[in-house]
């Protein structure tokens, strides 16, 4: 048991270890960059890490006030040389901040103000329409080419990714407590290719089932929200945001499509980022029901202004479904704005309320 915790925390302490000094390493920024392609490439990969505690003086010179903190932190680490030696960083167009950061990094490199890896864009188009599906299919082939991966290898990538999807689904299905542990697993699996180690991860023995909670909205920097819930005797057992543990969904079937089109179709169907087209009121109730949650924490950072437009409908839907909700809009990403105390008291209330 201790091994699983140590393994996860070792990876979180130095997330770049598997990528360091590898000229073929692939860094990722943003959501929905298809893991099937990354696995097919055979290269070491991982979403670039952020450091929630560190100041970002250099990045603040270039990023305007509405850029999220994780983007500032990554740009600060980039400038400090943390990603030097890596081959490529792929930015995603699944959300505005990651796609806009691509242009800023490229311009700063052009001006000689920034070194580091070459940049590429995964130009995902999420409108549920043939022209967008075709555009995303082509973008997947383009990224595969940028990573020197023949499109013919994508089928193999899907197989590897499906094994990973199964392992993540199994881990998710077994959650009943230890929210912080699962958040750290999800982050380690985001920052590092999880296929070599995830199957060996065994969740710590669960303490008696407590109030199950769904966390939805923005992705937090680490497990601080999960700890606040756990300390109150409840447990965040599922996440409905772009970097949640179950973000890869269930196995992907080709269903007669080419591999790249099947991956594109999956992205359009399952993306939860701000550019995804979905009924988020219905979706949050489904997620809460699937997690058998007794309460929902809808936590939205100030910079996630697009998701703010769904708060009224989500509130009404949860109320209609009889699911108590704590809605924290325009929140600080570091949760140093009283959010943790409000989460703790909300969870205490859930725990004490009759089931």
């Amino acid at each position: 048991m201790a091994n699983a915790l140590q393994e996860i925390d070792r990876r979180l302490a130095d997330p770049l270890a598997p990528l360091r000094g590898r000229a073929d390493a692939v860094g990722l920024i943003g959501a929905d960059i298809p893991i099937d392609v990354l696995l097919a490439s055979g290269r070491p990969f991982g979403h670039l890490p952020w450091d929630a505690a560190a100041p970002t003086p250099w990045a603040d010179q270039w990023l305007e006030s509405s850029f999220p903190y994780w983007a500032r932190s990554i740009l600060e680490l980039w400038h400090a040389g943390a990603f030097d030696g890596m081959g490529t960083v792929v930015f995603s167009r699944a959300e505005d901040a990651s796609q806009r950061l691509y242009y800023y990094v490229r311009e700063l490199q052009r001006r000689g103000a920034l070194r580091g890896p070459a940049v590429a864009m995964f130009d995902v188009a999420l409108l549920p329409r043939e022209s967008s599906l075709a555009h995303t299919t082509a973008a997947i082939a383009e990224i595969a080419t940028a990573l020197d991966t023949p499109v013919a290898d994508l089928a193999r990538g899907i197989e590897s990714a499906n094994r990973l999807r199964g392992a993540l689904q199994q881990l998710q299905a077994g959650r009943s407590a230890n929210g912080p542990f699962y958040e750290r697993v999800a982050r380690a699996a985001l920052w590092n290719d999880p296929t070599p180690w995830l199957e060996h991860v065994e969740a710590p023995r669960a303490s008696p089932p407590t109030a199950r909670v769904l966390l939805a909205g923005s992705a937090p920097p680490d497990d601080r929200l999960h700890r606040a819930a756990e300390d109150a005797g409840a447990s965040i057992v599922a996440e409905a945001h772009v970097h949640g543990l179950a973000r890869l969904g269930g196995p992907l079937a080709l269903a007669g499509d080419s591999p790249e089109r099947a991956i594109a179709r999956r992205l359009t169907a399952t993306s939860v980022g701000p550019r995804a087209v979905r009924d988020r009121a219905q979706w949050i109730v489904q997620q809460a029901s699937a997690a058998r949650a007794r309460g929902v924490i809808l936590w939205l950072t100030r910079e996630d202004e697009a998701l703010a437009w769904h708060v009224p409908a989500q509130r009404r839907a949860l109320e209609a479904a009889g699911i108590p909700a704590l809605v924290l809009p325009a929140a600080h990403w570091r949760a140093d704005d009283g959010a943790l105390d409000r989460i703790t008291s909300f969870c205490q209330g859930l725990r004490n309320a009759p089931a």
């Binding site: 806009r100 490229r106 130009d123």
Partner: protein
């Protein structure tokens, strides 16, 4: 003493009054067609292919124009409160949501035109994460269709895009982006034909595109004169309406004629040596959307410091971004006009490259850049552009203010900040 919330600057050109009168009459005619006669109409963002609607004779209520119209009626405060009451959190982006708020308020007694009737379609390009949320909810409130258009990544282009956009638009704007928007425009045309029973005549669209080239050429010539003549014959207070109002009607007989009249009046003033200010000493650049609620701000330092705002993006944008050699492919040429209309103004390197080039072309002494608080799209590229202009020898003042929401605006303090900036960083 702060200026009244909608203080208007002095207009020097005769044709400006003609433009605003035309727009006023157009508003009344639009209302009659849309509200009284119930004709099909579209609500569209400014950076969408209006040409398609013009070619189908479907009137457009541009979201930006409708927002400015609501602001001019001093209703924005009331409607932002409606969004609060519905429960939208405070960090929602305000720039394109006034129309939604007006429709949500559903109060015909106070709404402009009694509120918008049901449009045939809403159209927007997804240049940020908020637009699809606002427009899809607005469409369901109005019980109509929302036709979103992708804003795909732009990874391959040409340096100095503004020199090549007329001829080499395939290379400047990236073929697969042009292809995607062309496909989307064909789908939009099919939707409009299905819903209105009208048919788009390709020849009419091509003719419209040629007329737009003529109009934009007149505006480009006016921009060239405004940049080269000393003293500057036309301030941005006259440039903005004489550019933007014809842009809403681009390619129409009125718009083409008005653009020519504007160019001629600018040329005549330049030839006569007539300037905006009696003692033009400092030529200033305004970067960002126009300060619609207080255009008097731009003239506040003309007498005291001879500081003249000679450049804003609207007029020079006409030549750089609109004129297209059609090369027998009018729909693709149109797609190339639309597919980066926002990006070139808000993303590096296109934004900073153009600003530095324009500053040199127009002999700019200093720039004042609008930085709307907490609006990633409108703020985008400002810090990188500030650095590029400074490296080119042009001092830059960042002015935090909102272009439509006058709530936080203080005229005297803003003028004071510019005056201090000019004294300490420009006139040293």
């Amino acid at each position: 003493m702060s200026a009244s919330p909608t203080a208007r600057g002095r207009k020097d050109l005769e044709c400006t009054a003609a433009a605003t009168a035309y727009q006023k009459a157009f508003g009344a005619e639009l209302r009659e067609r849309v509200v009284e006669r119930g004709e099909p109409f579209a609500v569209a963002q400014a950076d969408t292919p209006h040409e398609i609607f013009h070619a189908l004779d479907i009137p457009i209520v541009s979201n930006q124009w409708w927002s400015a119209y609501i602001s001019a009626k001093r209703l924005s405060g009331r409607y932002f409160k409606v969004l609060d009451d519905v429960g939208y959190p405070p960090n929602r982006c305000a720039y394109c949501s006034l129309g939604l708020a007006c429709s949500l308020a559903n109060d015909p007694a106070t709404a402009p035109w009694g509120g918008l009737p049901k449009p045939t379609v809403l159209v927007a390009r997804l240049t940020c994460d908020c637009i699809q949320q606002v427009f899809s909810q607005w469409a369901s409130v109005l019980q109509t269709d929302f036709f979103p258009m992708e804003a795909p990544a732009w990874t391959r282009s040409l340096p100095e895009w503004y020199r090549h956009s007329r001829e080499r638009w395939d290379e400047v704007y990236q073929p697969n982006r042009i292809e995607l928007l062309t496909r989307e425009m064909r789908e939009l045309i099919a939707l409009l034909e299905r819903k209105t029973g009208r048919r788009l005549d390709p020849a009419r669209l091509e003719a419209l595109m040629e007329r737009i080239n003529e109009q934009e050429t007149y505006l480009a010539e006016a921009a060239e004169i405004a940049g080269s003549a000393r003293p500057c014959p036309v301030s941005i207070i006259d440039q903005m309406p004489n550019t933007m109002i014809p842009q809403w009607h681009r390619g129409s007989d009125w718009a083409v004629a008005h653009a020519r009249r504007f160019r001629d009046e600018v040329r005549a003033r330049a030839n006569a040596g007539t300037g905006i200010a009696a003692n033009e000493k400092l030529r200033l650049m305004w970067i960002g959307a126009g300060l619609w609620h207080d255009t008097s701000f731009y003239q506040a330092l003309e007498e005291r410091q001879g500081a003249v705002f000679v450049w804003s993006m609207y007029l020079p944008f006409a030549g750089a971004q609109y004129i297209r050699n059609l090369k027998g492919r009018p729909l693709e040429a149109l797609a190339s006009r639309i597919c980066s209309m926002n990006e070139v103004l808000h993303l590096p390197p296109w934004m900073n490259e153009w600003m530095v080039s324009e500053a040199k072309r127009c002999g700019i002494d200093a720039a004042v850049m609008l930085v709307p608080p907490d609006n990633r799209l409108s703020q985008s590229g400002t810090l990188l552009t500030q650095a590029a202009l400074r490296a080119a020898g042009v001092p830059v003042l960042l002015l935090p203010a909102d272009m439509v929401d006058a709530k936080g605006w203080d005229h005297d303090s803003a003028v004071g900040r510019v005056e201090h900036f000019l004294r300490t960083e420009v006139l040293r």
